[in-house]
């Protein structure tokens, strides 16, 4: 018999950590960080750039340059650590908040801003970047990722002796998403087909205003066991632990050993989106407590302490971040304004008759104004 589990969401049982909030390296029984300081420094750089991108975008929204922005503030370690585990043949299916991963995959930040400025749909090349489109329907991408992973199996890209010939899928969603039927069906399918997919839950403890307890009374990593797949909980603010755990899970998937669910325990330090007002539903003390666990600070402290980086290195990254900021601030206003004409041809592979008539009528109608203007001008 499996009894009622009354564990709270506080990390008390499984909680993989390799770097404490104070920047101290600690050991985990099972998971080790397999890389050198250069990798950690590279991660720190991605986290700093990711945060800068996010801060700039948030500011741009405040200035009316974007319609909306979902900040990733506080989730940099979860994103960069997992993103760092991705290899060439892997594919990433994001939710809508994985801005830091997007940058790592080579998505142009201005392309990302188009979506939130409303000048484009989701305007990046997901094939080239292997970073799929943002999904705004909660949880839906878990199924697409699982299907894609089933495709990798069929393509013979799983379980080969040569590890470089193998790929896997990494899919992101939030704590709230775990309640959706689609996410649970994805676990069913992934388990049934032993698909090479890693479900990466960023448990930032809030789904807009709903605390995680509304979704689940037990830690989310335990959901996995009910579907017969391994579940792991990692300190989501510890980029080392996140990378180690994600590498383990992706490797497993690539080897053909099936799916894993990772719960990265982290915190949404900002609002849900720029339209949100967290003061309505959560206490400042909670936010302050989590600020003390900042994912960037601990890495910086650690690397400075070990001497792996110095102030000059940090200044260099800051300069890079500033250049990114300039590029974004200058670029956003120059993003081309879309015209309805750009979209007629995107609904179908070829324009259907009724839509063609609608387009023709629209063009004639628009032209009538131009004619009128022209006449007025004469």
């Amino acid at each position: 018999m499996v009894g009622v589990v009354t564990t709270s969401h506080d990390p008390d049982e499984v909680f993989i950590q390799l770097l404490t909030p104070d920047g101290e390296r600690v050991d985990d029984e099972t998971f080790a960080f397999a890389h050198d300081d250069a990798t950690i420094a590279a991660n720190l750089r991605h986290m700093i750039l990711g945060r800068r991108f996010d801060t700039e975008a948030t500011a741009l929204q405040r200035k009316g340059q974007l319609g909306l922005w979902p900040p990733s503030l506080g989730q940099e370690a979860a994103q960069v650590g997992s993103g760092a585990a991705v290899r060439d043949l892997d594919e990433v299916f994001p939710s809508y908040r994985e801005h830091a991963v997007a940058l790592m995959r080579g998505v142009d930040p201005l392309d990302m801003l188009k979506t939130f400025r409303g000048t484009g749909m989701v305007d990046w090349d997901s094939r080239a970047t292997r970073f799929h489109l943002y999904s705004f329907v909660i949880g839906t991408q878990a199924l697409h990722a699982t299907g894609y992973a089933m495709g990798l199996q069929r393509d013979g890209l799983v379980g080969n002796d040569d590890p470089d010939a193998n790929g896997a899928v990494l899919v992101y969603f939030g704590d709230g998403a775990t309640s959706q039927g689609d996410v649970n069906e994805a676990l069913v399918f992934a388990a049934s087909y032993q698909a090479p997919v890693v479900f990466f839950v960023q448990n930032n403890q809030w789904a807009i205003s709903e605390p995680i307890d509304v979704q689940s009374r037990i830690p989310l990593y335990r959901r996995a066991s009910g579907f017969g797949i391994p579940g792991l909980r990692v300190d989501g603010n510890d980029v080392l632990a996140v990378q180690a755990v994600t590498e383990w899970a992706l490797d497993r998937a690539r080897r053909g050993e099936g799916p894993t669910l990772i719960e990265a325990f982290t915190y949404r330090m900002g609002a849900h989106t720029t339209s949100d007002d967290p003061t309505k539903y959560r206490r400042r003390e909670e936010e302050a407590a989590w600020r003390a666990k900042d994912p960037i600070e601990r890495v910086r402290t650690h690397l400075l302490a070990t001497g792996a980086i110095d102030q000059a290195w940090l200044d260099g990254v800051d300069a890079e971040a500033e250049a990114l900021g300039v590029r974004i601030r200058e670029g956003v206003g120059q993003l081309p304004e879309p015209r309805l004409e750009d979209f007629w041809a995107l609904a179908y592979a070829s324009l259907p008759p009724a839509l063609r008539r609608q387009r023709d009528a629209y063009q004639a109608y628009e032209a009538s104004f131009e004619d009128a203007d022209a006449e007025g001008a004469r």
Binding site: R117, G176, V214, D277, K280, E337, L340, L355, Y365
Partner: protein, 325 residues
């Protein structure tokens, strides 16, 4: 007693009154508690009625609607909020195969008196899935009542009428009108929710519309007036079942009809209305029933929505075309 308020406040007041009037009424949905919903329609209701009657649900729309149906079977009258139009689809099976049919399936023994509130429509500069107009899908589903208020007054009363209805109601709230003010008479409902209303009298042509487009049509009619054209504007209010008598009466008088909605044209509500009118008022029609709607493509990025959605000019253009017949 008349008060000026926004539609958002009117809905809040109507929900409050429904909660006060009937202890079996309860609210459920995502973020409707402390936050008061992303549009603040349920603001302070959890504070005042408690978390048992104003319930933050897990993030799963099928679950929200399916459990609401269970509550309805137990004798409750749940009002659930779907956060945005584009997120109703995960609940579609529950709505179409379960909620709409409980009465029929049970040979009339059971009913499913629940209300599904959906902020809908575009024009608010949003990202994908936040500007949709799903009414035709529901209107094609027997057993569902589909209504949409266009003013704070209607919002206040129709939400209460929806709660009182013994049939399940899809309650479509034109979110772009949430913050527009209107006079609300709190003493007595002006009209049942299954009736259309002539908003503006006219003789040359009828604009048939609902929800967010009512205001736009009224503006168009006023603009047309300046050019000496007399347009009648009918606010359908009930999208399914339709108030055929009111629609016919107006169109038989004017001889011309233009349906205006934000949903895509093909298979939209305009199709059904046009089909009925040509069938029932064939000889009264001086011109084909025209449709001013969104185009048959998914909702585009917000920076082009003004070109995608009907506006005053496109409505007047259609009036011209109708009158040219």
């Amino acid at each position: 007693m008349t008060r000026s308020m926004t539609m958002a406040k009117a809905l809040n007041a109507g929900l409050r009154r429904a909660l006060e009037a009937d202890p079996t009424v309860l609210l459920a949905g995502e973020d409707i508690g402390k936050l008061g919903g992303v549009f603040r329609i349920t603001e302070h209701l959890q504070r005042d009625f408690g978390p048992e009657r104003v319930v933050d649900s897990p993030l799963a729309e099928s679950g929200i609607v399916g459990t609401a149906l269970g509550l309805a079977l137990r004798g409750y009258r749940p009002i659930v909020e779907i956060q945005f139009d584009g997120f109703v689809w995960p609940a579609f099976d529950q709505i179409v195969s379960q909620v709409s049919r409980m009465r029929f399936r049970s040979m009339g023994r059971l009913s499913a008196p629940l209300v599904i509130r959906i902020p809908y429509g575009g024009g608010i500069g949003a990202i994908e899935h936040h500007s949709e107009s799903p009414e035709a899908y529901f209107a094609h589903t027997p057993g569902l009542v589909v209504v949409s208020p266009s003013t704070p007054l209607d919002a206040y009363w129709m939400i209460q009428q929806a709660v009182a209805s013994d049939d399940p109601v899809i309650f479509l709230e034109p979110k772009r009108r949430y913050h527009e003010k209107g006079e609300v008479d709190l003493s007595e409902p002006p009209l049942a929710m299954d009736a259309a209303r002539v908003v503006l009298q006219g003789t040359d042509a009828t604009l048939l519309t609902y929800g967010p487009m009512v205001k736009t049509c009224v503006e168009a009619a006023l603009a047309a007036q300046a050019e000496g054209r007399s347009l009648e504007v009918v606010d359908l209010r009930a999208l399914s079942p339709l108030d055929d008598a009111a629609i016919r009466a107006s169109v038989e008088k004017t001889g011309r009809a233009i349906v205006v909605h934000e949903a895509v044209r093909s298979g939209g509500l305009g199709a059904e209305i046009a089909a009925r009118l040509q069938e029932e008022c064939f000889y009264a029609l001086e011109a084909p029933v025209l449709r001013v709607t969104a185009y048959d493509m998914p909702y585009p990025p917000s920076r082009v929505e003004k070109n995608y959605l009907p506006d005053l000019d496109r409505i007047l253009d259609a009036v011209d075309r109708s009158l040219a017949h």
